[in-house]
Every structure is written in structure tokens, then in C-alpha cells.
């Protein structure tokens, strides 16, 4: 796995911050916006120039921040999986993003006719561009695609990867997602009045909205055949996955959390697991009024009165939109490896109707199965279950 987020530029740095309860949420510095003083964000601490240099890209490259963050994480994932020849097996690449090349589009759109230098970003606007650049840079020429289902995107990328391996279409697939911060999304979420002016408080009765974050994470999925043949160390298994649509509203989730409920049920069913098998839920927990109550209700519907230990890690990274499912997949695998539950920061008071208390300090215990939720606009709900 590879990751870059507000709490670190590698898996190691992310783990250290999680164990130290060290949040990456801060004031905005990388973008010019009038909202800078009224929001908090999770920023990656490397500029585009620094990322380009680390990645050894030519000076005149047309990489958007999306492609830069993505490639940084994808390269780490390959290194971590000990892959030297990417084409030794049938290898695919599935990325996901919600903003695509918007970070450059919003900067240059009104000068595309006059500024020749900026024109290189015209064809990098579409959401597949960052994926193509990453695939080219790591040498994958076969199956490559991009998913965009808002904030559940990366979970769906991971799911598709697993299904393609299961079907024998691929032997190995790099899956994940990326989203940089952009004025477009900051203003969009601002109009929906769901951005908090302070550090977000997932599952707290007095939560005030979400913090946006930027990040990228990729995981290498491999078939059992490769594992056996190369005697590879397995970090974890994707045991179950579920995808359902809430079919309620373009942005709000239904009162009874139907989509979330169905996604969790489906994942348990596909994983041949029962609710009591789950050791830890890494919740979607964005800290918006709507998400946290409906997710709580859905969790209650699935788990009844014996809700497993759960937390949202959004107070560490911010809500990283399309990348969130991959970021939290990395955290789920870390939880399995380290036998630890990462804390839900900034929680004080439970929501009155559901009475759910997340884990608020680092908790050590044997972890067997981690359930990870990702829900998005358009009613797109996805659940992944990672197992030892």
C-alpha cells in the first residue's frame, strides 16, 4: 500500500500520526480562496513543484495535482508490494477521483485562449487523465480505468479490482483513489453549508460539519496464485464488499440509512461473515449532521445493541472525497496488522437518538475483521471488509 495525506507522506508516517492521535487538520495555505479563514482543511505538506521533483518528472510536465499526489502514492504501493516488473503478470490499474483535473482548470480556464503555456492543461481536465498519466508512469498498458461515484469512489475501485481478480481477468491490480483540494469543491460544499469552521467532530451530537482534505492512496491486490508462487507476505484480505444505492436524494441520505444498511449487509453476506465477526468499524463519519445520524441508524440496524468498536478517522485527514475509501482501506489494513483501533478525535457527546460512543483513544485489541464504510452524493454507498 502507498498513501499521502495530511498526516503523512508514507504509510509509516500515517501510522505514527494515527497512534499519536495527531490530527492533520489546519488552516488552508495552498489555495487562494475567500473562505480560507472560515474553514479548516487537511492539506498534504508538499507543493506541486516538490512533488514533481520527488517523482523526477520533467519540468514542463502537464501533471495536475491529482496526478502528482496519485503517482506519489501509487509508486509507494508498488515498492511496498515488492514489484519490480509490473508486467510480469496480467496487471491492471483502477483509480478514482471526483475533481479530475479541476485544480488546473479553475486556475486557467479564462486564459486558455491567450496563454499558450496553460493550454497543456486543457486535455487534463477529464477525470481519466490523472489515471492515464499514473498508468503510463508505472508502465501499465492493459486494463486501466477510473471510477467516480463521489465520496465512495475508491471503495468501488477496490471492489472492482477484487472482482476482476476473482474472475481471472487480472492476476494483480493496483486500486485506489486521489483528490486534491480545489476551490471548486470548497465552494460547492460551502453552498451546501456543511463545512465546519473548526476541527470536525464525527459522531458528536454538536458536530458542525466536515473538513475537506486532500490525499491519495493505492493498494496492490494480488491473486492467491501470485502469493503462492512468489511466497509473498499478505498484508490482509478483502473478505467482503457491498455496493448499494440509497435512491433517496442527490446529496442527502435517507432517514433510515437504507443504502448504508444494504451495503453493509451485502458486504457481510459476500464475506460469509455475521455482524459479531466485525472487530472494528472504520465509519464514513464525515461529521455532517446528515451523514453521522443516518450512518449511526444504519449501523444500529445491522449490529443491533452490540455495535463493535468504531471510529471515524476523518478528524485526522479531513474528508478526502474520492480518495477516502482507499485512505481508510490502508488504515483498516494497519488496524489488522497492528491490532489497534484508531481514535475518533474531538468526540464529546453522543447523538441522543442512537447513543453511539466511538473509540476516542488508541485502543489495542486483537482485530480480525475491519468493516469500512464510504458513502457519496448520488446515494452511492459502499462497504468493504478487510480480514487478517
Amino acid at each position: 500500500m502507498g498513501i499521502i495525506s495530511a498526516i503523512g507522506n508514507s504509510v509509516c508516517e500515517n501510522l505514527e500520526a494515527l497512534l499519536a492521535s495527531k490530527s492533520g487538520i489546519s488552516s488552508l495555505s495552498s489555495l487562494q480562496t475567500h473562505h480560507a479563514n472560515s474553514i479548516k482543511v487537511g492539506e498534504v505538506n508538499l507543493t506541486n513543484t516538490q512533488l514533481s521533483d520527488v517523482l523526477n518528472l520533467p519540468k514542463n510536465n502537464a501533471f495536475t495535482r491529482t496526478a502528482l499526489l496519485g503517482l506519489h502514492a501509487a509508486k509507494q504501493a508498488l515498492l511496498n508490494a515488492n514489484i519490480t516488473d509490473v508486467n510480469a503478470y496480467k496487471t491492471g490499474f483502477i483509480s478514482s477521483t471526483s475533481v479530475g483535473g479541476m485544480d488546473k482548470t479553475e486556475m486557467h480556464i479564462k486564459e486558455y485562449c491567450s496563454n499558450k503555456e496553460a493550454q497543456k492543461y486543457i486535455n487534463s481536465h477529464h477525470a481519466g487523465d490523472s489515471t492515464q498519466k499514473m498508468a503510463d508512469a508505472i508502465g501499465i498498458t492493459g486494463f486501466v480505468t477510473t471510477i467516480s461515484t463521489a465520496c465512495s469512489s475508491a471503495a468501488n475501485a477496490i471492489m472492482l479490482g477484487a472482482r476482476l481478480i476473482k474472475a481471472g481477468t487480472l492476476d494483480r491490480v493496483i486500486v485506489g483513489g486521489v483528490d486534491p483540494l480545489s476551490k471548486f469543491t470548497i465552494n460547492g460544499f460551502k453552498t451546501l453549508m456543511i463545512l465546519s469552521d473548526s476541527n470536525c467532530r464525527p459522531f458528536d451530537a454538536n458536530r458542525t460539519g466536515l473538513n475537506l482534505g486532500e490525499a491519495a492512496a493505492y493498494l496492490v491486490l494480488e491473486s492467491q496464485e501470485i502469493v503462492d508462487k512468489e511466497n509473498k507476505k499478505v498484508l490482509g484480505y478483502l473478505a467482503g464488499y457491498g455496493n448499494a444505492n440509497d435512491a433517496f436524494h442527490q446529496t442527502a441520505s435517507s432517514q433510515n440509512g437504507e443504502g448504508a444498511y444494504l451495503a453493509m449487509q451485502d458486504a457481510l453476506k459476500k464475506g460469509h461473515l455475521v455482524p459479531s465477526d466485525i472487530s472494528y468499524i472504520n465509519a464514513h463519519g464525515t461529521a455532517t449532521a446528515n451523514n453521522d445520524i443516518t450512518e449511526s441508524i444504519a449501523i444500529r440496524r445491522v449490529f443491533g445493541n452490540t455495535v463493535p468498536d468504531f471510529s471515524s478517522t476523518k478528524a485526522f485527514t479531513g474528508h478526502t472525497l474520492a480518495a477516502a475509501g482507499a485512505i481508510e482501506a490502508v488504515y483498516a489494513v494497519l488496524a489488522l496488522q497492528e491490532n489497534v483501533i484508531f481514535p475518533n478525535l474531538n468526540f464529546k457527546t453522543p447523538i441522543a437518538t442512537t447513543h453511539l460512543h466511538p473509540v476516542t483513544t488508541v485502543k489495542r485489541k486483537e482485530i480480525h475483521n475491519v468493516l469500512s464504510n464510504s458513502f457519496g452524493f448520488g446515494g452511492n454507498c459502499s462497504t468493504l471488509i478487510f480480514s487478517k
Binding site: 475567500h34 479553475e106 486558455y112 492515464q132 467516480s148 465552494n187 451546501l192 452511492n380
Partner: protein, 339 residues
């Protein structure tokens, strides 16, 4: 592993494809650099309140999707899959321009909400109250193919019985002009840029005269020289030889990259009909969904309009069709259909 059949195909395009299925006897000349779709009466399919908020792509997608389900007699599919290259570019432009013009003030959420790439899939799910698997692919010229591949996988391996799959792209108002601005005048795309939505119902059920989606394979990158090898391998994997293919539909758009199609066409004997379509339907990231619609129409009706044929040889009986598309020499897709 189950076989995957296509039970319905519906398309909204720059030509007459929607109201009475394909009718190219009087094709609309598309001569400008941008060709809008021949839009149907959307109010027949979408409630006025919802219609007002919808951008072109959402209207096209929801309408084509609904009609595809109707034609296949499906009320609630087991999955809704969409592909779109540029996504909801109209609403993206609207929100971005409002943001720039008002310097981040006085913005309303509507166009932002509807600018997310999964809007069409979401709106179809909402209209049908369909909680099933729902996914959206946004990978340039492989957006539709990725959705189709997922759909085929659901039918073949994951026990879905019926899957709605579609490709949608709208022209938009501004970004398309920047695309045209950087398109090489001499070597670039020569057909107009256009828009459309094509939807299909995939099914595991074999009906009489069923059209089978035998296989689909995509490649991010192959060289021109590799095309014959890759294509022969694809056919062989499906137990076909070039001589078994009755018609080949390629995405020629007049650019220098048409040379890839020439390499592909060259492996087939003279008895294989050679077809093209983008001179009538234009180029857009999900134009290949239009080609699948044509493939289904030809197999079903055993009729090929002359305007689609390159050369003059046309077979009497069409049982197997290969589709090949790529864009600027990358994002290659091969689709095999049979009757």
C-alpha cells in the same frame, strides 16, 4: 460462467435514432465543428419539476436509460452502470463560471450538486427507487467500455440477471471550444465533436434471436504495430478467426490515428464488411456506445445503411460483429457481438 445477452439498445444521438429506432435514410448532415444531439421530447419521460433542473446529459441519460429498461421489460435492474468522459460538463461550467464571476460569493448549490460524474446513474436510481449496485466510470474514451465490462462481469460471474449500462456525454458550452482550440487542425479529429447517450440492458436470459455480448477487452496503450497481434489474440480467445467476422465497425474520426484502424481492418478478408459511423454521429468520449447500438441494430434487423459502409461489399447475413475504438492512439477497446 453465464453468457451475457443484450436485450435492448436505445440511443439519443445527432441522427434519428431515438423515436423510431435507427433511421438513416435521411441522415442529418453534421458539418459544423460541434453537432448537438437530435433531442427528443424529454417531458414524455421526465417530470417537469425534475426536468427543469437537469442539464443536457442528465436528460439524455435518464431518458435513454428509461426507454432501454422499458424495451427490455425490466422495472428494476440488478445494477445501474454509466460511463461518461467529460461528466456533467454543463453544470461544471455553470458552477465554475458563477464562482469566477462572483468571486466566490452568492453561489447556489444546484449546479454543484448536479456536476458530479455519477449524476445520471444517481438520477436513474432515484427515479426507479432502485437500491441495486450502482457505479460510474469516467475514463476518457474507455468510460462506456469500463461500464460495459463491469456489466458483463456482473452477468457472467456475480449472479445479476439484468443490468442497465449506458454511455453519456454532453457537448457543454465552453470547454468544448478549448478542446477544439488545441485539436491539431491538420492531423487531429476531422469529424465534428458531438454528444449523445446510448443505453443497453444486459441479461443472463437467452431470448429468441438473442444478441450475445461475447467479450470486451480494453487496453490503455498499444502500438500501431501491436494492433493485429492483440486483435487476433482477442478473436482466438473467443474461438473466432478473422474470416468468421461478418462486419467490423471502427471509430474512424479522420485523425492521423485512423492508421490504427487500417492495421486492424487489414487482418480481415474482403468478405468482411467494413463500417464507420463517426462521420454521422461525431466524436465524443462515449461515442463507442453509439457503435454498440449500431452493432445491435444490424444484428437484429440484418440491415446495414449504405452510409455506414466503407467500400461496397455488404454481406447478406450478419452474425458476428467486431467493434474497435481508440482515441488519439490510446484507450483501445475491442467488443465482440454475435447473433
Amino acid at each position: 460462467m453465464k453468457a451475457c445477452y443484450i436485450h435492448s439498445a436505445v440511443s439519443i444521438s445527432a441522427q434519428n435514432t431515438f423515436e423510431t429506432d435507427l433511421n438513416l435514410s435521411e441522415s442529418n448532415p453534421i458539418t459544423s465543428k460541434k453537432a448537438n444531439a437530435n433531442h427528443p421530447q424529454y417531458k414524455t419521460y421526465i417530470a417537469p419539476g425534475a426536468l427543469r433542473r437537469m442539464a443536457t446529459g442528465v436528460k439524455m441519460g435518464v431518458t435513454a436509460g428509461k426507454k432501454a429498461l422499458e424495451k427490455a421489460n425490466i422495472t428494476n435492474p440488478d445494477a445501474i452502470l454509466t460511463g461518461t468522459g467529460m461528466g456533467c460538463i454543463e453544470d461544471t461550467e455553470n458552477f465554475l463560471n458563477a464562482l469566477i464571476a462572483n468571486d466566490e460569493a452568492y453561489l447556489t448549490p444546484t449546479s454543484f450538486i448536479q456536476s458530479t460524474h455519477n449524476t445520471v446513474g444517481a438520477q436513474i436510481a432515484l427515479a426507479l427507487q432502485c437500491n441495486a449496485y450502482n457505479n460510474t466510470y469516467v475514463h476518457g474514451a474507455l468510460s462506456f467500455e469500463s461500464a460495459l465490462l463491469d456489466g458483463q462481469l456482473l452477468i457472467k460471474n456475480d449472479d445479476s440477471r439484468s443490468v442497465l449500462v449506458g454511455g453519456i456525454d454532453e457537448l457543454g458550452k465552453e470547454f468544448i471550444d478549448y478542446t477544439l482550440l488545441v485539436e491539431d487542425k491538420k492531423h487531429g479529429v476531422q469529424v465534428p465533436f458531438s454528444e449523445g447517450a446510448s443505453f443497453f440492458v444486459l441479461s443472463s436470459e437467452k431470448q429468441e434471436k438473442a444478441i450475445q455480448l461475447n467479450d470486451i477487452k480494453t487496453f490503455s496503450n498499444i502500438t500501431e504495430q501491436e494492433v493485429p497481434t492483440v486483435l487476433n489474440e482477442f478473436l482466438a480467445e473467443n474461438n473466432y478467426k478473422p474470416k468468421d467476422i461478418d462486419a467490423v465497425i471502427c471509430g474512424n474520426n479522420g485523425s492521423v490515428y485512423d492508421s490504427y484502424y487500417s492495421k486492424a481492418r487489414a487482418i480481415f478478408p474482403i468478405t468482411t464488411s467494413q463500417l464507420h459511423y463517426k462521420h454521422l454521429f461525431g466524436e465524443y468520449f462515449t461515442a463507442s456506445a453509439m457503435a454498440l447500438y449500431l452493432g445491435v441494430y444490424i444484428l437484429k434487423n440484418q440491415q446495414i445503411y449504405d452510409t455506414l459502409i466503407i467500400g461496397d461489399n455488404s454481406k447478406n447475413s450478419i452474425k458476428t460483429i467486431l467493434l474497435y475504438n481508440q482515441f488519439n492512439g490510446r484507450d483501445h477497446s475491442f467488443i465482440l457481438l454475435s447473433l
